[in-house]
């Protein structure tokens, strides 16, 4: 339910997924972002993702902080449960929501400001807990909503629309995530839906915290010449480390890939990813490798994209905590309240 609904016109012959739903059913209210904003493309890719994965909308929760990027959960999956929290603190809300019911799909959307400045603490600790969620950073190198201040991901030398170039070293969410111990680390570009959608799918089906850093140009404040997060500069500097395919569970599709240079990883929530390596001497299953090639690329002014690290074996938060699988919010009160007899006997210890 939402207030300003887009007029939903579903064509008769519209493509339907296994639930009989159309793409339009997964849309949200009308975007109020600037025309051309990278974030809107990511919204589109997310819509495609949840449609393709046949996710029942009400089994999906979508959370965010504050920022242009954080507004986007309102723009997809209007039949899902949305939670636009406070600035930089979405991970904690997701942690609580997940504890109450770990069976729901969970997508968090954040910005580079929301994650890397005010949100750094919660971001790193959600990674440490390996919370089972897809965490998308819509990374534009600026604070869009507050009108164009540099964010912590702005590159050294990148110029502001007006004013001096940035002098502080950028924080790279991928390197930070790996250093904290993330189990799924990927990077992509809002302008590359072909790469983005499989990564979103794999991230959502991954068991544990899937961090997806998506370069998403801000057309209003950071798309000019001199900006390293512009469409132009991103297209030029971007290099794919791996080609990623997501293969649905029980898919009949025979995938044709060269065993030698490919890696196949079964995902815990279903399906698998096929990673076709473009880089030699690099395995996305080895953290030191991942960090090294990210750094080397950065030193050469290149931005590595694709699934940069994956580890499907580490237990996720609820497993580590030994919590029952059944949603806690559905356990009958009778099973939770020990009752009067227990209370009486327990009090013997206090006599």
């Amino acid at each position: 339910m939402s207030y300003i609904k887009k007029p939903k016109i579903i064509r008769e012959n519209a493509l339907r997924n296994k639930l009989g739903m159309t793409l339009t059913d997964y849309e949200g209210v009308m975007s109020t972002l600037c025309a051309g904003c990278g974030h809107d493309s990511i919204t589109g890719a997310i819509i495609q993702t949840v449609f393709d994965l046949n996710i029942e909308p009400h089994r999906l929760i979508k959370l965010s902080g504050i920022g242009c990027s954080s507004k986007t959960p309102a723009y997809f999956a209007s039949q899902s449960h949305g939670f636009n929290s406070v600035h930089g603190r979405m991970p904690s809300v997701a942690t609580g929501a997940h504890s109450a019911n770990s069976e729901l799909f969970c997508i968090g959307v954040s910005g580079d400001g929301d994650t890397l400045s005010i949100g750094m603490g919660q971001f790193t600790h959600a990674i440490r807990r390996n919370l089972n969620m897809l965490y998308v950073i819509e990374n534009n190198g600026v604070y869009g909503l507050t009108k164009g201040q540099f964010s912590a991901s702005a590159d050294v030398g990148s110029t502001a629309k007006k004013g001096a170039p940035n002098v502080q070293i950028p924080i790279d969410p991928c390197q930070v995530a790996i250093s904290i111990g993330a189990t799924f680390v990927a990077r992509s570009f809002s302008g590359d839906k072909d790469q983005l959608v499989p990564l979103l799918k794999a991230g959502l089906m991954h068991r544990g915290f899937a961090m997806l850093d998506v370069i998403s140009p801000c057309v209003t404040f950071n798309d000019h010449e001199g900006s390293t997060k512009s469409y132009l500069s991103t297209r030029e500097s971007k290099r794919e480390a791996l080609y990623t395919d997501y293969i649905e569970p029980f898919s009949e599709i025979e995938v044709d890939y060269d065993q030698g240079s490919s890696i196949e990883v079964d995902l815990h929530e279903g399906g698998k990813v096929i990673l076709r390596k473009a880089e030699k001497e690099f395995s996305p299953l080895n953290k030191s490798d991942s960090i090294r090639i990210i750094r080397e690329a950065a030193d050469e002014g290149e931005m590595l994209t694709g699934l940069l690290y994956i580890d499907e074996n580490t237990p996720d938060f609820t497993e580590m905590e030994n919590t029952v699988k059944k949603p806690l919010n559905e356990i009958p009160f009778g099973d939770l309240c020990p009752g009067s007899k227990t209370l009486t006997s327990l009090q013997k210890n206090y006599k």
Binding site: H81, S85, G96, N322, N329, I331, C337, K351
Partner: protein
């Protein structure tokens, strides 16, 4: 104040922390309790781990007064560092026990205090081998000394040893030896018993000794809370420790042995409250315990919870402020910080337990109110309630109990609905319907802390915005009808009353008893919840003068009584106690007498 008498006396232990004194001191208290004598223990410990002075004060009182007496009848002075001040704090006519093993230079004495030297170290060194047991058994030995001096029932103590150490026979034996040594030494060297002693009675039947963090945690367990998030902070830490302990035995899934609960040690308090809200939003009963600094850090999220209307429970176990203040001392200094937490126009439902017993019941009630009112609810305890050992009535539970989950739409209701709107006030009580994520395709809605209209849509429209914040005021009125009523003791004859809050209760009970005896009977109202309801205002109206007693510097309850009722502020006289020590009846009595004698009061 009054002279000690049988079953009415205060023993204070001055120790060094980290020397294992607490189990001996606890043993002494429990023995008194098992002899049927009402008793309370107050722990004054430093904000460090080892090597600093620490005190434990045990008050026995036939009438069951549970606040400190403010006097010391027997001082067990085991800490050389604080000897001088410990001696100074003994009442005239009182006793001081010290370890006379080695002759001390400059042993200070007082003419009006009987100083009893016991060579504790020496006798223990003779009997025990290891350094550890020598240190520990010195403590047990002074319990033996006290047992002789106070004529205690030794069988009770011995039974307690059995109950405590169970199968560990060597510990039982060692303690027994130490106990006897102390006992015998005293019998031989001092006039036993003293003029006041402990005499077996039955005044503690149907009671337990427990601290308020444990009972609050039990409340969470019995209320069916499943998600607890927290960041360690004194004095709230033991609440989550207790919850965790109870859950380990009471909350395992029968089949899988897995946890029917989730306890999350957060990275800080901002995360802890975010988690609690996330879980509350997603239909779990959730809570987070903290103390002052945590409340400050939770401010932004608390306003979010108020405005987006999300249930959760926040325990504030208050300590001495401002800032870090004195983390191991008590105060009631967050009353306003909680009631109005967050920027913008916010106000929060708060509950104020007076002791561990109420901490249990109000804790369970907090979960009901949070869900009924769809808002964060505070339980304001304090260090005195939370960490000290109180004697309270046995806790009771009715097995037919049904939790009040508030207006949550179920499957059938949603099936029948055309469209669900989250913030529509259908019933006119300011409380709207909510849904739990994942349960029904029609239940989805969007939760936000930004401007929203009654349908749940984003808005920047002046009247749509105002519509929702005005409805929250309607809900506030409804809250007044749901929160616990104040506790009132009223007689038409009395023109002067007392209004107070929380852990002041016991000192006030004692104050009233004393003043009544002196012919000055006072009525009494104790607020148990914010928002206040009409009875508070009525009470003030009924009196010529009302003393408002609380444990903070700025008179925070006094402030709120003035602004949140229409009562005449001239009638209210604020009395404040805020040095970090639990309030004493004698100090209250003194202040009230001064007021009355100076003619300021009616």
């Amino acid at each position: 104040m009054s002279k000690p008498s049988h079953n009415n006396f205060t023993v204070k232990f001055a120790n060094v922390n980290g020397t294992g004194s607490s189990s001996a001191n606890g043993m002494f208290m429990k023995s008194i309790f098992r002899m049927g004598i009402p008793v309370v223990g107050k722990n004054y410990f430093p904000s460090n781990i080892q090597g600093l002075p620490t005190w434990y004060e045990i008050r026995a009182s036939e009438k069951g007064y549970l606040s400190p007496s403010g006097t010391v009848d027997i001082m067990v002075a085991m800490n050389a560092q604080t000897y001088a001040e410990d001696l100074a704090s003994v009442e005239p006519g009182g006793y001081l026990i010290y370890d006379s093993s080695w002759p001390r230079k400059e042993l200070m004495t007082r003419e009006d205090v009987t100083v009893l030297g016991v060579p504790l170290a020496r006798i223990c060194n003779e009997k025990f081998d290891t350094a550890r047991s020598r240190t520990l058994m010195k403590n047990t030995a002074y319990v033996g000394v006290l047992a002789a001096l106070l004529d205690m029932d030794v069988a009770v103590i011995e039974q307690l040893l059995l109950d405590t150490f169970g199968a560990k026979k060597h510990l039982i034996d060692a303690n027994k030896i130490a106990l006897d040594m102390g006992f015998d030494y005293a019998k031989e060297n001092f006039k036993c018993p003293l003029s006041f002693s402990a005499q077996t009675t039955n005044k503690t039947d149907g009671h337990i000794i427990i601290d308020g963090n444990a009972t609050a945690a039990l409340g969470c367990v019995f209320a069916g809370a499943t998600v607890g998030s927290w960041y360690p902070i004194t004095p709230s830490t033991s609440l989550m420790d207790a919850f965790s302990g109870y859950c380990q035995s009471l909350r395992k899934d029968k089949e899988t042995e897995k946890n029917n609960y989730s306890i999350i040690q957060a990275e800080d308090e901002l995360a802890a409250i975010g988690m609690a809200l996330g879980a509350g939003w997603n239909g779990a009963r959730s809570f987070t315990p903290t103390s002052g600094p945590g409340i400050s850090l939770m401010g932004e999220f608390l306003g979010f919870g108020y405005y987006a209307e999300i249930p959760t429970v926040v325990f504030d176990v208050q300590r001495t402020g401002p800032s870090t203040g004195m983390p191991t001392r008590t105060q009631q200094c967050d009353i306003m910080a909680c009631a109005y937490a967050s920027h913008g126009d916010t106000k929060h439902v708060c509950l104020y337990p007076a002791n561990p017993e109420e901490a249990f019941y109000l804790s369970t009630e907090a979960f009901n109110l949070a869900e009924q009112l769809q808002t964060p609810v505070f339980v304001l305890s304090d260090l005195d309630i939370g960490m000290n050992d109180w004697m309270v009535k046995d806790l009771e539970w009715e097995d037919g109990y049904e939790p009040k989950r508030g207006k949550v739409l179920g499957k059938e209701e949603l099936d029948e609905m055309e469209t669900f709107y989250r913030y529509l006030d259908v019933d006119g009580d300011g409380i709207t319907y909510r849904t739990i994520p994942g349960r029904h395709p029609k239940g989805a809605y969007f939760t936000r802390g930004s401007g929203h209209n009654r349908l749940g849509g984003y808005t920047e429209n002046a009247s749509d915005y105002q519509d929702v914040v005005d409805r929250l005021l309607v809900k506030w009125e409804t809250a007044k009808t749901l929160v616990p009523q104040p506790e009132i003791s009223y007689s038409k004859k009395n023109k002067i009353g007392i209004i107070s809050i929380g852990s002041c209760n016991d000192a006030i009970r004692e104050t009233r008893d004393v003043l009544k005896k002196q012919g000055q009977a006072l009525n009494y109202l104790r607020v148990k919840a914010f928002p206040f309801n009409d009875k508070v205002e009525t009470f003030i109206t009924q009196h010529e003068q009302v003393f408002v007693i609380e444990q903070n510097r700025d008179g925070q309850l006094h402030h709120m009584l003035i602004t949140e009722t229409n009562a005449d502020p001239k009638k209210l006289k604020s009395l404040r106690f805020y040095n970090g020590i639990p309030i004493f009846a004698k100090d209250i009595i003194q202040q009230i007498e001064e007021e009355i004698n100076s003619g300021k009061a009616a």
